[in-house]
Amino acid sequence: MSNPDTIDPKFKDEVMAELGGEHLLRCYSCGTCVSMCLVSRVSSEFNPRRTMRMVMLGMRDEVFRNPTIWMCSACDLCYPHCPQGIHISELMRAIKNIAVRDGYEAPGPVAVVNEEECSGCDVCEKACPYGALSLVTKVFDGQQRKVSQVNKNLCMTCGICAAACPLSAITVEEYSNEKVAAQIQADGWLTEPAQRLPGEPQLLVFNCSWNLRADVDRAALTRFPPNVRVIVLPCSGRVDPIFILLALKSGVDGVLVAGCQPGQCHYKQGTRIAQGRMRILQQILDQMGLDMSRVRFVQIGTEERGRFPALVMQMLADLKARMEPANITA
């Protein structure tokens, strides 16, 4: 309410007229949604309660100029807890829809399609939880070809499409294949014998960004022994099976992939997609004659305090118990 000239008293009506915005005025700022929100946990500027308040007060420009309105991933952890039954993610979507009509754009970053590589196979469109990808016909060298296109306002950069693309034609800049590979290899973790503790197994952990709520568990990520390397990705759906195969090939003893519990996935269905992928991967490993238990996939509920570190230590102990020269290239 800083400047009365910029107040739009009709703004709240506009949002309420939009599908999903109906129950806006029921909000009495109890903060339940914020206390459940994992985005708020990571970046404190994101505050759905405050956004709703600003809408109610008619702070149109402030709301639209605020980059955080694009951060809600519609995980719907808050909705079942709201005592007023407000579907907050739908409300945020209503705000975003109006913002788009007003000419605002999500600040990005977004997934990028390499159109030269893209074959138009449509796998990414089916994998994307947000319907952000669609096939369009474009002309290349005088030839019409279907390629995938990203809707900037819908993409949440979960990277599920990047892992799904059979041609690796989609990249999410911050979590590109090259950067993930570099993270795994940093400080010569795979190659330098100095990094390997004698008699201890090497464990590579891929964890999603959202399954740990407790401060202690988040802090634990950096406190594992050096033979454990944790790579944090936006979603377990970003884990490309290639990462795992390459790690095993390089001599890593085990790989643990941790995602959210189904129903709590930050990107709606990422954890289910990862579950399917990991199952297939394990079958392939089995056919290759490798021990399936060297790759594990777990789904952690956000309120399961202490489970993640315990799982890592458990897997480490299991790997140690079966310590024998790994026959990876067989």
Binding site: C30, G31, C33, S35, M36, N47, R50, P83
Partner: protein, 616 residues
């Protein structure tokens, strides 16, 4: 309670259930069932020799299950009357208590339930409330985490006569918790469970926090709240004192509690709304301020006593502002939290009010009632001719009509509240309502439609809601077209379908029937009777060939002046959109059918005469 037990004019029936209630104000008959105690009231002296020898231990309900009790027990040490009772569901009949009782010989396993009828003049319902079961609210982990308890459990732990002798300990490790958090509005102000505010939880939480802080000044106490509600006398000052003594108040409703499995400590996730920041607070004990909810047997009681319930499920008062102690049934009064959550002073005030209002009836020789009661023309009632009917009795919300085959239906004036539902429902026009007779209402209708009927909207309104809504539209200066003409009856149930037929026969442009919203109906089920009727009527009118837009049903509360004005505006707009000539032709087309349906109308006593007067 002790005073009540000793009073010569008070008979205390404990461990007794109300089974049936018949009769009316001043003349109720109540069937009660005394449950078997298996202990003789006149022999037991409450010495307590029996309980220690009893080998059975079950959770003690009064101690919130935190302590055991025996199968032979008293509910709590101040119980009145101080007589033991045997919990026969758990008793193994070892008869050790019989030996312990010895010469008193007060134990009698042969007791059976005893039923008897009581004659009473008035009834006060003070059945109290239940506490919300927070295990339904899974995010707080009650029942899963040992150290999440309810306020009532804390009350017992903190009580010098309680299971811990007043030592505050937490359930998981029996240690004293230095950090405690209270969470408000558990199960209330929450559309998943109860929308209402329980009202007194803020105060009792502050009381518990203050009590704790006074005993242990080092204690770290946090109260999570959405709004603190301390509106009564002296309450706000108490709240201020609590803040000043260092109790931490955080505005923000926690969404989740997680437990550290090693320490048993709890981590509360909440937004500190004042800071606009997410916080994670570690606490050794979490106390949930649970909502007050209607007692589990409220529905059963409401059907026995024939009193309705408010949307929250508590018993409904006759009028929320002007008659907050009376139930909708005359002679039945409400006291305490059975009517809605309230604290001790309010319960005492309402109890005193109920006692005074009940005593008025006991002392009166005659009792004046509203004159608008229903009356049966015995010669028209087909039940008197030996035929089976009784529709009026099934539609009466107050069970005020008795129908015996072979005799005319009989209205008990003392029970009749004058909604007029039976009058409109009687298929033989054999009932009338004093001051709202068919003759009177039809005369109004004829007068209103005497000129240019096709330009008029006839609005039938109920006295309590939609008429109030129309009144509200007027006093609030909500404009609506002048084409509407209102006819007021007591309840939408009185709005006879014949009135609607007659209005269309006379050529009315539009007809609106209106009443209360279902939950607000002044006459318990009157609105429902009307709603059913009008649903059928709308179909019938359409079949006859009357344009469906010309008949509208709306539920408008007394506060919805704007809605009333809006409805009339919309109807006026529709009316104007009709071609007047087509409207007249439509009326002519349906007139023979309407006349056929209304043929019996003039047989009703006085109707013909009343209509003659209109045209005179």
């Amino acid at each position: 309670m002790v005073d009540a037990a000793r009073h010569p004019n008070i008979e205390l029936l404990t461990y007794t259930e109300v089974k049936r209630v018949e009769g009316f104000i001043g003349n109720f008959k109540v069937l009660v069932e005394e449950k078997p105690r298996y202990v003789l009231m006149d022999r037991c002296n409450g010495c307590g020799a029996c309980a220690p020898v009893c080998p059975i231990e079950v959770p003690n309900e009064f101690e919130e299950g935190l302590a055991p009790r025996k199968a032979i027990y008293i509910p709590h040490s101040q119980a009145v009357p101080l007589r033991y009772v045997i919990d026969i569901d758990h008793c193994i009949k070892c008869y050790k208590c019989v030996d312990a009782c010895g010469k008193l010989d007060a134990i009698d396993f042969s007791q059976q339930p005893k039923q008897r009828w009581l004659d009473v003049g008035s009834i006060i319902v003070a059945t109290g409330f239940d506490s919300f079961d927070p295990s339904e609210l899974t995010e707080y982990g009650y029942g899963r985490y040992d150290n999440v308890i309810t306020t009532l459990e804390l009350e017992r732990i903190n009580n010098s006569a309680g299971p811990t002798a007043g030592q505050i300990i937490r359930p998981s490790d029996k240690k004293f918790p230095k950090k405690v958090a209270f969470i408000q509005c558990v199960g209330s102000r929450d559309e998943r469970f109860n929308l209402y505010c329980s009202g007194f939880c803020c105060m009792y939480t502050i009381k518990n926090a203050v009590q704790w802080k006074l005993t242990y000044p080092d204690a770290d106490i946090t109260i999570f709240y959405m709004d603190i509600r301390t509106p009564s006398k002296g309450y706000e000052e108490f709240y201020r004192w609590a803040r000043e003594m260092g109790i931490r108040f955080i505005q923000g409703r926690p969404a989740l509690i997680t437990e550290d499995p090693h320490t048993g400590n709890l981590f509360i996730q909440a937004e500190d709304v004042g800071l606009g920041q997410l916080i994670e607070l570690e606490s050794e004990l979490v106390v949930l301020s649970t909502a007050a909810v209607p007692r589990a047997d409220t529905e059963q009681m409401s059907s026995i006593l024939n009193i309705s319930r408010s949307p929250g499920g508590f018993f409904m008062e006759y009028h929320p502002k002007l008659r907050p102690v009376d139930s909708p049934t005359d002679g039945v009064f409400l006291a305490g939290a059975a009517q809605g959550p309230k604290d001790i002073p309010a319960s005492v005030a309402q109890g005193s009010g109920a006692a005074a209002r009940a005593a008025r009836i006991l002392n009166a020789e005659r009792w004046e009632i509203e004159p608008i009661v229903a009356h049966v023309w015995e010669d028209r009632c087909i039940s008197a001719q030996g035929k089976k009917c009784g529709i009026c009795a099934t539609k009466c919300p107050y069970n005020a009509i008795v129908v015996e085959q072979g005799k005319a239906a009989e209205v008990m004036p003392a029970k009749c509240h004058g909604c007029g539902g039976c009058v409109a429902e009687c298929p033989h026009n054999a009932i009338t309502q004093m001051h709202f007779t068919d003759a009177q209402i039809l005369a109004q209708l004829h007068a209103l439609l005497a000129k240019e009927p096709e330009k008029k909207i006839i609005a039938f309104m109920c006295h309590w809601c939609s008429y109030g809504g129309a009144d509200n539209a007027g006093t609030s200066h909500f404009e609506y077209p002048a084409s509407s003409r209102g006819i007021r009856v007591m309840c939408s149930a009185r709005q006879d379908q014949d009135f609607v037929y007659e209005a269309f026969r006379l050529g009315a442009g539009m007809v609106l029937v209106s009443g209360c919203h279902p939950q607000d109906c002044h006459y318990i089920t009157g609105q429902r009777v009307a709603a059913e009727r009008f649903e059928r009527l709308a179909k019938r009118l359409a079949e006859m060939g009357i344009s469906p837009q010309r008949f509208r049903v709306e539920w408008i509360s007394a506060a919805e002046g704007a809605k009333y004005a809006q409805v009339i505006r919309e109807m006026d707009e529709v009316l104007r959109s009709f071609d007047p000539q087509a409207l007249k032709e439509e009326n002519e087309r349906v007139r023979p059918e309407l006349e056929r349906r209304l043929r019996r109308l003039t047989e009703i006593p006085d109707v013909a005469k009343a209509l003659e007067q209109v045209y005179a």
